[in-house]
């Protein structure tokens, strides 16, 4: 799964609007892949890379 799908698998109640406001995903096109650039969600904690991988993220 990509990073977006993986985050939704961990927190199914997240909305698309959250990814335009309190959560920002980025890819710098430098070969390092996608990453969480900002996480300001008021309820859910930012998942760690280990949690993402355990949830199915194929980095």
């Amino acid at each position: 799964m990509d990073i977006y799908q993986t985050i939704l698998a961990i927190y199914p109640d997240l909305q698309d609007s959250d990814f335009e406001t309190v959560i920002s995903l980025r890819n710098d096109s430098d070969g390092r892949g996608d990453y969480i650039e900002k996480w300001d969600h008021p309820v859910h904690a930012e998942p760690t890379e280990e949690q993402l991988i355990q949830a199915g993220w194929t980095k």
Partner: protein, 167 residues
């Protein structure tokens, strides 16, 4: 400031002279290859091929314009996107110094495989030393999402800027 006038070259202004554009920096570049992206993820567009770069201020490795003359620049970016399953929106951003500065976005429910484009432009002040600009984009959809590229004579994802006015 010295303005040179001769019978061969006409009038020559100093580069970047205050309120005179003269031979200020200008570049145009495009993405030579398509780029697969992740939904809801802001991604730097790999603008890797120059049409022209008058002052060698565009970096085709980091896809970044860092003008060495301070002033106000007309900046333009366009990207085309497609999705193999669903495609719901596309956004284009001009990033200044690593953060979003300008955004254009459209919502479009496209048939799988169809393309749509977004263009973002504005006039942006650059300090002529450390300020830099990049073109970024974002697609929301499912399946394989792509910033597409055609070829050098039919450029579909491109980025350009030129000095309008000195600082």
């Amino acid at each position: 400031m010295t303005i040179l006038i001769d019978g061969t070259s006409g009038i020559t202004y100093p580069q970047g002279a205050t309120q005179i554009v003269g031979a200020g920096p200008a570049f145009s570049a495009y993405a030579s290859a398509s780029q697969t992206v992740t939904t809801a993820t802001q991604t730097k567009v790999a603008i890797d091929t120059e049409n022209f770069d008058t002052n060698s201020n565009f970096d085709t490795t980091n896809y970044r314009f860092t003008p060495t003359v301070a002033g106000y620049y007309q900046v333009n970016g366009s990207l085309r996107g497609t999705g193999t399953t669903t495609f719901t929106s596309i956004a284009g951003y001009i990033y200044k110094n690593g953060s979003p500065s300008k955004r254009a976005q459209i919502t479009a429910s496209l048939t799988a495989g169809n393309n749509t484009s977004i263009t973002v432009s504005d006039i942006i002040y650059m300090n002529g030393s450390t300020d830099y600009l990049e073109l970024w984009g974002n697609i929301n959809g499912t399946g394989t999402l792509t910033f597409t590229s055609a070829n050098s004579t039919d450029q579909t994802s491109y980025f350009s800027a030129c000095l309008l006015r000195g600082a």
